[in-house]
C-alpha cells in the first residue's frame, strides 16, 4: 500500500471505499485525537475509551458512503465519536466529566486568564469539577472549542446545532465556567 501521509482525508475516504486497508491510514490519523476527545467527555478508563473508539471506527467505515465532502471529514468523524461516546455514557449511566491533561490546562489557562496558577493537581481538579458542574450543552462546546480547538462551524457540524447557537453556548458557557471556578477556589480569576 502506498504512503498515506500526503493524501487528504477525502482522498483516503475514496481509497478506503475501494480497499479497506486504506481505512487504517484514515483511522490512524484520528486515533489519538479522538481517544483524547472521548476521554475528555466521558469518565471512562483508557481501556473503555479505546473500546468506544473501536466502535467509532467500525461505524465510520460502515457509513463511509454517507460522507459528503461539503462537510470536513474531521467534523464528520468527531460527530460519530461524539454520538458513540454519549450513547456509551448513557449505557454506563455515569455522570460525564472531563479528563484534563497538562496541555489542556495550558489551553484553558490562556483562554480564561489563569496562567501561572494552574499547574498543580489541585487546580486541575478544580477545573475538572467546575466543568463537571456545567450543563452538558455548555461542557461539550467548551471542550470542542478550547481543548480540541475546533471553530464554530466545525462544532456546529459535530453537534448538529446552528452556528449561531454554538456562539451563544460558548459565550454563556465561558461565563458559567468562570463563576463555577471562582466559587470553588473562592477568588476572582
Amino acid at each position: 500500500m502506498e504512503s498515506c501521509d500526503n493524501k487528504t482525508d477525502e482522498e483516503l475516504v475514496e481509497l478506503s471505499l475501494k480497499d479497506s486497508d486504506h481505512f487504517f491510514c484514515l483511522s490512524k490519523r484520528y486515533e489519538e485525537k479522538l481517544l483524547k476527545y472521548i476521554g475528555r467527555i466521558s469518565k471512562f478508563s483508557r481501556e473503555d475509551a479505546e473500546d468506544v473508539l473501536q466502535e467509532v471506527f467500525i461505524k465510520t467505515y460502515y457509513n463511509l458512503n454517507g460522507f459528503d465532502p461539503e462537510l470536513k471529514f474531521s467534523s464528520w468523524i468527531y460527530r460519530i465519536a461524539h454520538n458513540e461516546a454519549v450513547s456509551a455514557i448513557r449505557k454506563k449511566a455515569v455522570r460525564p466529566t472531563i479528563h484534563l491533561e497538562i496541555g489542556d490546562l495550558e489551553r484553558f489557562g490562556d483562554v480564561f486568564d489563569m496562567a501561572g496558577d494552574i499547574d498543580n493537581s489541585l487546580d486541575r481538579k478544580m477545573i475538572d469539577i467546575a466543568l463537571s458542574h456545567l450543563d452538558e450543552k455548555y461542557r461539550e462546546v467548551l471542550v470542542l472549542r478550547f481543548l480540541d480547538e475546533k471553530d464554530y462551524v466545525e462544532i456546529a457540524d459535530i453537534l448538529k446545532k446552528p452556528t449561531s447557537t454554538i456562539g451563544n453556548l460558548i459565550s454563556r458557557g465561558k461565563k458559567l465556567f468562570k463563576e463555577e471556578y471562582e466559587k470553588l477556589i473562592g477568588v476572582s480569576v
Binding site: 483508557r46 473508539l53 467500525i58 458512503n65
Partner: protein, 233 residues
C-alpha cells in the same frame, strides 16, 4: 498498561466480520427524501396560505356591524391557520434534517419559510388556486363542512334572518332550500338582491339574508356559499 493499536484492531474486525460500507444509493435516497419532504411541506404550506387568503377575502365582512367583534373570532379559518403552523414546523424540521440544514438557526429557517410561503401562497391565491381547492373540498369532502363549521355558523340563525342551505327546487320567484339540519325552507325572492356570482339553480349552496317565519323566508339578499368574487382562472 500498553496502549492498543485501535486502528489495527478495527481494521481486523472489519475484515473478519466482512463489514462493507452501506451503499451510496441509500444515503442519496435519504438526502433526496428530506428535500422532497421540505418541498412537499412548502407547497402544502403555500396552498394553505392561499386558502387563508381566500377565506379572509371572501368572508362576509359586511356583517361585522351586525355581529360585532365576535364576528372575527367566529369566522377565522382556524383549520387552515393550524394547518399552516403544522406545515411550517414540519418544513423547518425536515430542512434541519438535510445534510447541512443544522447550520441554520430556527428563526432564519422559519423567516425564510414564512416569507416564501406568503409570496407563493399569494400567487396561488391570485391565480384562483385557493378558491378552487376550497370549492373542491366543499363539493367532494363532506367532512370539510364540519371542519369549517364555525365559519358558517353565523348563517344558521333563521330567527335572526341568516340562513344557508342547498337549493333543492326552483319555482319561478320561489325556491326550496334544505339547511344543514335537514329543514326545508321556502324562499320568496320577489324583491331579492342577488349578490356576487350567485346562481339560482338546483344543487347550488347559497346564503340568505331576510325575514324568516316558520318555514318561509322573505329574502332581501342571496349570496353564493363561497365567496362573492369571480374565480380567476
Amino acid at each position: 498498561m500498553e496502549n492498543r493499536n485501535i486502528s489495527q484492531l478495527a481494521l481486523e474486525r472489519i475484515k473478519e466480520e466482512g463489514i462493507k460500507p452501506i451503499s451510496r444509493n441509500i444515503f442519496s435516497i435519504k438526502r433526496v427524501l428530506f428535500w422532497v419532504l421540505v418541498a412537499i411541506s412548502f407547497i402544502i404550506g403555500a396552498l394553505t396560505f392561499s386558502l387563508i387568503l381566500s377565506a379572509l377575502f371572501n368572508n362576509d365582512w359586511d356583517l361585522y356591524n351586525k355581529f360585532g367583534f365576535s364576528f372575527i373570532f367566529r369566522t377565522l379559518p382556524y383549520f387552515w391557520l393550524i394547518s399552516l403552523a403544522v406545515f411550517t414546523i414540519l418544513g423547518e424540521y425536515y430542512y434541519r434534517k438535510t445534510y447541512l440544514g443544522h447550520r441554520r438557526g430556527f428563526i432564519l429557517i422559519m423567516g425564510v419559510y414564512l416569507i416564501s410561503t406568503t409570496v407563493f401562497g399569494s400567487l396561488f391565491y391570485l391565480i384562483g388556486t385557493g378558491r378552487f381547492i376550497e370549492q373542491s373540498l366543499e363539493n367532494e369532502a363532506p367532512i370539510y363542512r364540519h371542519i369549517m363549521l364555525n365559519r358558517y355558523e353565523v348563517w344558521s340563525h333563521p330567527e335572526a334572518g341568516f340562513l344557508s342551505g342547498k337549493i333543492i327546487r326552483v319555482m319561478g320567484e320561489e325556491i326550496e332550500v334544505i339547511d344543514s339540519n335537514g329543514f326545508i325552507w321556502i324562499i320568496n325572492m320577489q324583491d331579492v338582491y342577488l349578490r356576487g356570482r350567485v346562481e339560482i339553480e338546483t344543487g347550488e349552496r347559497i346564503k340568505i339574508i331576510g325575514r324568516c317565519l316558520e318555514t318561509i323566508c322573505i329574502a332581501d339578499e342571496i349570496r353564493p356559499w363561497i365567496g362573492m368574487r369571480k374565480m380567476m382562472r
